[in-house]
Symmetry: C2
Subunit: 180 residues, 2 copies
Amino acid sequence: MISRKEYENAVVRTLGYFEKAGIVITDEEKTRIEIADFGLGRLEKEGLEILTYVNTERCCAKELVMFPGQTCCEHRHPDVNGRPGKEETFRCRYGEVYLYIEGVPARHIKATVPDAGAGAYTVFHEICLYPGEQFTLPPDTLHWFQAGPLGAIVSEFSTSSVDEADIFSDKNVQRETIIE
Amino acid sequence: MISRKEYENAVVRTLGYFEKAGIVITDEEKTRIEIADFGLGRLEKEGLEILTYVNTERCCAKELVMFPGQTCCEHRHPDVNGRPGKEETFRCRYGEVYLYIEGVPARHIKATVPDAGAGAYTVFHEICLYPGEQFTLPPDTLHWFQAGPLGAIVSEFSTSSVDEADIFSDKNVQRETIIE
């Protein structure tokens, strides 16, 4: 849960990132920026700001804005009704982002693991993305990511997005944001 | 067919557009900008500059750069092997772009129809896109588009891209560019 004021502040900051990166969005889009606190109530630490450009039955494109050090909680996109899970490409547009997936863990990761319950963060194979760099995640890949000190903007190109199907490692996560 | 020099000039100009719009691309990407003259040999009039970020079996993302007044020839993306054709969203990032599809024709279109053979341009329902604006084309929709006086950058978010399946209205079009 976040307060109305916290929500509004987050929207204003998000618009500031778009402006800084020269990404033009419409007035209509400004009114529907999604502020996701994952139901944890600590948006600055674990959260994500999302503008969905398009999401059809077949494909989807979004901009993800992240505040400095902000983390998108570990999750995966499983198969749904026999259809393969979401495949997504993250492309860094601004700032830097540290992405973690299954595989050989980095000895010293660049991110600071959020202070969450046991089992909330379990994969530590590190992929650092700087502006212009991207990485494609196959469906059902466990992953989490954190912005560097400047925050980040990440373009997401993917198959259809079905947020409610996402499986989070932290059982306290609720994908839908409740605004007080 | 275009000359090596024409190709190289077009790449340099394309990179200039990305720079102007603040779109960062990697050195590797700079080496694989596609210059499409549609086999017509009049790139300035009918052509397209393309950077494909990702193109998998399921989804695709590209940036399209267009020089001032440049036109992407009329075409459609048919079903292939029983799979529905390409669905695509065009999002204007820079400049302006005039998109034409089937439907009620505009009385006075903003674009100048290229001097091509009969039947090369047949649809004139106009959609003007300015920065931040976008339009989603269902599969198999006949369409063509032209950049305004500043040129344009258009992000394309789509299902898988299979250029060789495209059907162009101008029978002289050859999708693959031959560089002398």
